[in-house]
């Protein structure tokens, strides 16, 4: 079994108000079969055994579908592997003797809680502002009772694969949440069920996004490159278009 010896440069921060710093730590005998998070588990086990404070990081499903894991690995959220979450990055992608920088997802709208754990509830508030549809409660409708063209269903599905991890914000030079908001809006806006509240949804979600202190999109598409679900920046163009239309409609309604 091959193993790696690595030097980790990890962001340590005791709490939200505390000053953080990069801590250098050796990671010895890491099996190449380990995932990135398992590598951190091994390091943490050693820290715990010597009575230290383990490195705090977010994780949940560890199978790339929940959006809970984060980490910026060598400056890239979820590492430079294309379309991969941190939990699905394996140590075989690294070489023996590598130095790896591990930092939290950085954005003022995502404050650090401890070490590598950030508060991403700003995304929840954006969803609560309009990322839903109002439906009657009761039994689920029959499948295919609402006909949707295949192409449209595919487009909506692609947008819906966003797991809301926040890598788009973390990779953006301006900490903009446009890829997340546009994917969530496009998912519902391109389906018949989302039509009645389309304009209201776009305006509310964009306004909530602005209120949370995210930056503005400068069309550099770092988000698209970092996204573990390969969400397309075409969604951003669609959000811009839908926002312009909704704004004009709102203005006409005001007069």
């Amino acid at each position: 079994m091959s193993t790696l010896n690595l030097t980790l440069k990890i962001w340590r921060q005791a709490g939200p108000e505390a000053e953080g710093k990069i801590e250098t730590r050796k990671a010895q005998n890491i099996p190449i079969e380990a995932s990135f998070l398992e590598m951190l588990d091994i390091v943490n086990q050693q820290i715990i055994e010597t009575g230290g404070d383990p490195i705090h990081f977010d994780h949940d499903c560890r199978e790339g579908i929940c959006g809970m894991c984060s980490l910026t690995i060598n400056g890239v959220p979820h590492s430079k592997e294309v379309g991969t979450t941190t939990c699905q990055v394996h140590m075989r992608k690294f070489n023996d003797g590598d130095t790896i920088f591990i930092e939290p997802f950085r954005a003022n709208a995502f404050p650090v809680l401890k070490d590598l754990v950030t508060d991403r509830t700003a995304f929840d508030r954006i969803i609560a502002s309009g990322g839903y549809i109002d439906v009657r409660t009761g039994s689920a409708p029959d499948a295919n009772s609402v006909p949707i063209p295949k192409e449209q269903a595919d487009w909506a599905f692609d947008a819906a694969t966003c797991i809301g991890c926040g890598a788009c914000v973390a990779s953006c030079k301006n900490s903009s949440a446009m890829l997340f908001v546009s994917a969530k809006a496009a998912h519902l806006n391109s389906l018949p069920q989302g039509q009645p509240e389309k304009d209201k949804r776009v305006l509310s979600m964009v306004r909530q996004m602005d209120a949370e202190g995210f930056g503005n999109c400068t069309n550099q598409y770092e988000c698209e490159a970092a996204c573990p679900k390969l969400i397309s920046a075409d969604n951003i163009a669609k959000l811009n278009r839908d926002f312009a239309i909704a704004s004009v409609k709102e203005a006409v309604a005001m007069v």
């Binding site: 440069k9 920088f101 003022n108 030079k173 400068t218 490159a225 203005a251």
Partner: protein, 235 residues
């Protein structure tokens, strides 16, 4: 009236609204460049054609045309600059930097937009003082620059351009500014389509290539003038 003011204020204060204003004003300024360049190219046709064109610009719609254009362009410029400076400030306030640079896709031009833009702004001020207001030079002196053109008194714009660019520092600043303009356009023109929601995955390549080609054409066209003057190809 009150509600339309309210709409403008809400639209301007939203992130996407402000960007749409920047995109539309950017489009106006981009189209102006194409017009400005085609007119300027008449310098290679000859003195008569160029001066006739200058005379036409100043006298179309009984002299009102040039002022309408100036007001539209100045408004577009002010909105474009104020909008982008405000957006840049917000972006700086929203972000934090990493200890290692993980940039994957951003082009060099996209990263220097605010600096290329502000240099172009400084150049525009200089360019207007140089050739429009004609401050600190003799271009307004009727003895040197007044000619008879098809039976009426006209300004010798052709001679003004040649004299203006014969001074090396002016030409160097001009070439630097146009080079930054080319960089600004290579990211800006493609961004117009994205911000106005006109880009899709099918048109992405076409739009990016079109923006590059357009910015190179603008560079070659504008730079050819001072270079030709300095090399005495136009005299």
């Amino acid at each position: 009236m009150n509600s339309s003011l309210q709409f403008i204020s809400t639209f301007w204060s939203s992130s996407i609204g402000k960007k749409i204003v920047v995109a539309i004003t950017g489009l106006i300024l981009t189209l102006f460049l194409a017009g400005h360049l085609s007119g300027n190219m008449l310098i290679f046709v000859g003195e008569h054609a160029f001066n006739e064109y200058a005379y036409f610009l100043h006298h179309m719609l009984h002299g009102a045309g040039v002022w309408i254009a100036r007001i539209v362009l100045l408004t577009a410029l002010v909105l474009h600059v104020v909008g982008t400076v405000q957006l840049t400030k917000m972006n700086r306030a929203a972000g934090q930097s990493y200890n290692t640079d993980g940039t994957q896709r951003s082009s060099f031009s996209s990263k220097i937009m605010i600096w290329s833009g502000l240099t172009i702004l400084a150049f525009i001020v200089y360019h207007i003082l140089h050739y429009t207001a004609r401050v600190g030079n003799e271009f307004n002196n009727p003895e040197k620059y007044e000619i008879m053109l098809d039976g009426h008194v006209a300004h010798n714009a052709y001679k003004m351009v040649i004299d203006g660019f014969s001074w090396l520092p002016a030409s160097i600043f001009y070439i630097i500014a146009v080079t930054l303009l080319c960089s600004h356009l290579s990211h800006g023109v493609a961004s117009i389509f994205q911000t106005l929601g006109l880009r899709t995955n099918k048109t992405e390549k076409l739009i990016n290539t079109g923006a590059q080609v357009y910015s190179i054409l603008i560079w070659v066209g504008f730079v050819s003038i001072p270079v030709s003057v300095l090399l005495h190809l136009v005299k």
